[in-house]
């Protein structure tokens, strides 16, 4: 058992660190530091830089455009990116539908879709949840009826992040409703420009427009857009959900945020001393840092194949619960830095087109915005209640 990196791994870390320090555009880095929302064009710019370097999809098999790195290298890479303040790229193409396509798609589908995902030209969104099916995903009702070479899709998807900016959507649709609800689901790729698709924005409690409801009215989708076999979409959906949860701990990003909180707390005054020296705040800061350490090493343990003793396969569920709780604790620490200045409505700090500096001091930028947005983290991707149901089911059936 050994925590240290081999000389090769150290060299790799140094290479990544040096590269990102140089390659990450200064304006994007600065926006991240100020807690601003990074816009689609900027994300795409960064995407293309990574793609050009060949580092856009470390987890993909080498043959499809991956890097061929070891797990430790991928861990180092993700860590370095986050510590450098690089923005997360949307997961829908790279981490979700991409792996589904290269795992279950036809050769033709691989040729058609993977390049656009890798080079960043094609933006994806995810059509899973429906108004009637939240945590009970398999109860979905959006219907795809066979009609010659096409499916005719009717129904609606909800909580669709980025649907208003996406080129394509991958959807779970019902192609058979005679059996168990998990049976009869198919996995379909749909061009967002297809007639009959309507995107309706949902404004969330921080005032932001990131999610949408997507309506399908007699939307005709070619059958060659079906992934794998008809009625077996649930298998691909579960594969994707596990992939989604694996990334959810986001240790690197959390370390970066923690460092920002620590720095800001050191420059914030409270009762005539630094907030960072306030015993109550300090205590919660320490508790949160310990939780982050525990999360990080739990991930490392799981990655290194040292399985949990009790419930094989529940690592992702545990990481999801622990990581989202931690994220919410961190956001509570963060809004405290702002004090009274968490009261003004701030939004992501979009200062474009304004001559005035923002009301909220730069220090606390985006804190409340993220706090509010972060309430969703224990809800989406299977609520934490569902995660605990799963953990308990495995734990108790042993």
């Amino acid at each position: 058992m050994d925590l240290s990196f081999s000389p090769e791994e150290t060299a790799f870390r140094d290479e990544v660190r040096a590269w990102v320090a140089d390659a990450l555009p200064a304006d994007i880095k600065a926006a991240m530091e100020r807690g601003e929302k990074v816009k689609k064009d900027d994300l795409r710019r960064w995407h293309k830089i990574l793609h050009e370097k060949g580092w856009i999809a470390p987890a993909w098999p080498k043959e499809y455009g991956g890097t061929g790195w070891t797990a430790t290298q991928r861990y180092i890479f993700a860590n370095e990116m986050a510590l450098a303040g690089a923005p997360d790229l949307p997961a829908f193409g790279l981490k979700m539908v991409g792996p589904v396509i290269y795992t279950y798609g036809s050769e033709e589908q691989k040729r058609e879709y993977l390049p656009g995902i890798l080079n960043g030209d094609v933006w994806w969104c995810q059509g899973y949840s429906e108004p009637g099916s939240g945590s009970d995903l398999a109860s979905l009702k959006t219907k795809a009826v066979s009609d010659g070479d096409e499916y005719v899709v009717n129904g609606s998807k909800i909580w669709t992040t980025g649907a208003h900016e996406a080129d394509w959507i991958f959807c779970l649709v019902r192609t058979d409703d005679t059996g168990k609800k998990q049976e009869g689901i198919s996995f379909l790729l749909i061009d967002m420009k297809t007639p009959g698709i309507e995107v309706s924005p949902i404004i969330i409690i921080n005032g932001d427009h990131t999610v949408n409801q997507v309506f399908f009215n007699d939307v005709r989708v070619p059958k060659r857009n079906l992934i794998g076999k008809e009625n077996e979409g649930w298998t691909y959906a579960k594969f994707l959900l596990v992939n989604e949860r694996n990334g959810i701990a986001q240790i690197g990003a959390k370390k970066h945020t923690m460092a920002r909180i620590r720095k800001l707390a050191a420059s914030t005054q409270l009762n005539g001393h630094r907030l960072a020296d306030d015993p109550g705040y300090q205590r919660r800061l320490a508790e949160t840092e310990v939780a982050l350490m525990a999360l990080e090493y739990s991930e490392l343990r799981f990655l290194s194949g040292q399985k949990t003793d009790h419930a094989p396969g529940t690592e992702a569920n545990m990481m999801k619960v622990a990581a989202t709780q931690l994220q919410q604790s961190m956001s509570e620490l963060f809004i405290e830095i702002a004090g009274y200045y968490s009261y003004p409505f701030d939004g992501f700090r979009d200062t474009e087109g304004s001559n005035e500096p923002p009301v909220v001091p730069e220090d606390a930028g985006g804190a409340m915005h993220q706090f509010l947005y972060g309430r969703a983290s224990t809800i989406y991707g299977g609520s934490n209640e569902i995660q605990r149901d799963v953990i308990a089911k495995v734990l108790l059936s042993l």
Binding site: S129, G132, S133, G134, S135, D136, S139, I158, W159, I202, I203, I204, I205, G207, Q269, L270, N271, G272, D278, G280, Y281, I335, E336, G339, Y340, Y341, S342, Y343, P344, F345, D346, E356, V359, P361, M368, F371, L372, R375, A376, T378, I379, Y380, S383, E385, R388
Partner: protein, 377 residues
């Protein structure tokens, strides 16, 4: 000892709840937040007509002689309806400042207009560097002939954009964090040199940054005695906290009811989610938090006028601590149990949650008041 409502209090509660139900709520908030002032002048007039603006003033002052418990009754109803009108700033805070510090002349001049709904007040106590410390005042006022000249800036002044009179704390002697040497001035919103930068707040209300550049006021603008403004500010804060606690209790009640109703209709896995024991227990905990918050809001109102300063401090800060914790739990769990819908601007849940989150911050959060509580004990 008697903890039941008087007939008058029951009537006040019923009429306030009727008003709120008919006029206010999340839908009203979504409409009003796009208007310039963020609230309805028409409602304000109705509140004046209902006598609510007169509530805390004595009969000699032209008021109704209401107690802190009466204000609690009203604010609890306001909390149920996300009321946007500047009752807290004008009647509770402005009223407290005038009653605690105002001369007979000031009260005679200002209270009738306030009660009629013709003058709106706010208190500009916070400063950018001060966090929750009322005594941390960098704004200065220096004598100039018989009057004063005020310089400085005030942070997050609630309804600072629409108030006609702004009661400003300024230092007339001493160092920035001294308890003495703070004086209060009643400043016209339109005074030359006073600039306002208004903005919406997270909970759909309004506030403003206020910059004072050599703002001249007459001698009679001084509220209370020179250098002795802090006890008046503290009184303002305590009355505001007590009112906010009651408002929070009202908001929690709505969230609890809404959540209970939602879980009974929302189906997942073939049954209403209210059937899941984990959610049932969560709602039982929400109810317990609500009841404890309600008890502590009552303690604050009952002891706000206690002669024992330790007892008063523990009651008011203790209530703010409880409301902060309970509000956080009830608000966050209401969102959680509503799932994705709880995250939307469309449903009312998120608005109540945000208001509770903000009430925790206003006049000092849980941490701040735990320290106040400990210091008093």
């Amino acid at each position: 000892m008697d903890l039941s409502y008087s007939d008058e209090q029951t009537m006040l509660r019923d009429s306030a709840e009727r008003f709120v139900e008919a006029n206010c709520g999340a839908e009203n908030l979504r409409k009003m937040r796009n208007t310039e002032e963020g609230f309805s002048r028409n409602y304000w007039k109705q509140m004046a007509e209902l006598g609510w603006l007169a509530l805390p003033f004595t009969e000699e002052q032209g008021g109704l002689g209401g107690t802190a418990v009466d204000t609690m009754v009203l604010m609890e109803a306001f909390g149920k309806g996300l009321v946007l009108e500047p009752y807290l700033t004008t009647v509770v805070m402005g009223g407290a400042a005038l009653r605690a510090g105002g001369s007979d002349a000031q009260i005679e001049e200002l209270v009738p207009a306030l009660v009629e709904g013709e003058l709106m007040f706010t208190v500009a106590y916070a400063e950018p560097q001060a966090r929750f410390d009322l005594f941390d005042v960098a704004t200065t006022a220096r004598r100039d002939g018989t009057g004063w000249v005020i310089d400085g800036s005030k942070a997050v002044v609630l309804h600072g954009d629409s108030a006609d009179k702004i009661i400003v704390s300024a230092r007339t002697s001493g160092d920035r964090r001294d308890a003495t040497g703070i004086s209060l001035f009643i400043v016209d919103a339109g005074a030359p040199g006073l600039e306002r930068r208004p903005y919406p707040t997270v909970d759909g209300s309004r506030a403003a940054e206020i910059m004072l550049g050599s703002v001249r006021v007459d001698a009679d603008a001084l509220l209370g005695r020179e250098g002795e403004g802090l006890p008046v500010l503290e009184r303002v804060a305590d009355e505001a906290i007590t009112a906010l606690c009651a408002e929070a209790v009202g908001a929690m009640k709505v969230l609890l009811d809404t959540t209970v109703e939602y879980t009974k209709t929302r189906e997942q896995f073939g049954q209403p989610i209210a059937k899941f024991q984990v959610l049932r227990h969560r709602m039982a905990d929400m109810m317990m938090e609500y009841e404890q918050a309600k008890s502590m809001a009552l303690v604050a109102a009952l002891k706000l006028d206690s002669e024992d300063p330790v007892e008063r401090r523990k009651a008011v800060s203790g209530a703010k601590v409880q409301i902060g914790k309970s509000g956080r739990f009830v608000g966050q769990q209401a969102v959680q149990l509503h799932g994705g819908m709880g995250m939307t601007d469309e449903l009312s849940v998120g608005h109540y949650f945000k208001r509770l989150t903000m009430i925790d911050i206003l006049f000092g959060n849980v941490d701040h008041h735990l320290k106040q509580f400990s210091a008093a004990a």
